[in-house]
Subunit: 193 residues, 2 copies
DNA sequence: CTCCGATTGCTAGCAGTGCTAGGAACAAGA
DNA sequence: TCTTGTTCCTAGCACTGCTAGCAATCGGAG
């Protein structure tokens, strides 16, 4: 029993090593620089070993993404619980979201732009994803009024996502980001609170 | 003179042929299926010929994108001018935008997700891009109130872009799209008009 | 302590990618 | 007719994701 347990533990460790290496490499040089060969070299194993852990490169990105959801949820939660009134809570949570997307852009891409074979708007989605979504929901709940909260969260989330992706893609000038964010929030807080 | 003119004309024709082939192939099988080899085979020239027209694959995608902006601007304009009142105009323009992104998803990706070396929020941006942005601006102008129109357009555009990209990436359930769109519009029309 | 069998991880390779160097063939002007 | 310049192709480089098949290692049985 103990031997097999040790092997499984080592295997799990190595899996984490791969995921961490992928994330670090992606954050340093972007996802196009993350190749199986470079990852294998980095964790000091041959390429086929990586394929015994993950079905392919997409699966590695998905694993990195799942880690990212936990990070995002934590940062959103910290922002929300530090706020005093609901209006400010929405502002700081939104700021935390866009800051996360900017600061950890490769991670954000893995979560929201690249991988597709990850369940999202279903109960099978990773718990961390539900947690992050829940933080957004709580932040915007006071502004819901008669609107469906889940739907409103999705729409506001879309707004944040659109802002950061268009800005990061060079479609929107970076300078006006704060003004745009404030404008988005003002349109979602009118006539409530 | 005439010989050189003929050559330039033929060259321009061939360039259009390449762009069209790239767009058709992308719309049929997605951009990852568009390779220089397949394009070369399709236009019945060798690969280096394509490189004499475009610096690389990204440049081909950029050319396809520029074509796409013209199409999008035309569809938005048709929707806006067909509307009767401002409130409905914003609704039909928004619907036209998301329908375009859905129906011509590969083209939309080239325009808003992939290429970066294309100027956007500057005067050097392609005229068709300004035209499309202007249509959105006109549609939302009646809802601007005291807000800066350009900034508001960018924010509303971000909302639309977020909705379609998250939905197309499987992050939002397709079924509720119309309700989400209506909700977005309602948040941008309160207290005006 | 020895030997067998299964697991592990390697080398080598396939088919494909974007892109380019070099030369052949053709067309235009002297 | 010969030279010059352009056009375009063949062949190849360095790389990608991924896999087949073999060598070595290690755990358990006798």
């Amino acid at each position: 029993m103990s031997i097999q347990e040790r092997r499984e533990r080592e295997r799990a460790e190595r899996e984490r090593l791969i995921i961490t290496a992928a994330r670090e490499l992606a954050e340093a040089e972007g996802w196009e620089a993350v190749t199986i060969r470079r990852l294998a070299e980095r964790v000091e194993y041959s390429q086929p070993v990586l394929y015994s852990h993950f079905k392919g490169k997409d699966a590695i990105m998905a694993a990195v993404a799942v880690e990212g959801f936990a990070d995002l949820a934590a940062e959103l939660r910290a922002a929300r619980t530090a706020a005093t009134d609901p209006r400010q809570a929405l502002a700081v949570v939104s700021a935390a979201y866009t800051a996360f997307a900017e600061r950890r852009s490769a991670l954000y891409d893995a979560m929201f732009s690249h991988v597709v074979d990850l369940p999202f708007a279903t109960p099978e989605a990773p718990p961390a994803l539900h947690a992050a979504f829940g933080e957004l929901s709580e932040a915007i709940r006071p502004q819901a009024g008669d609107d469906d909260l889940g739907l409103l969260t999705e729409v506001f989330w879309s707004g944040l996502h659109g802002l950061v992706t268009l800005m990061r893609g060079g479609r929107l000038p970076r300078a006006d980001h704060d003004r745009r964010l404030a404008l988005l929030i003002s349109r979602f807080t009118r006539g409530s609170a």
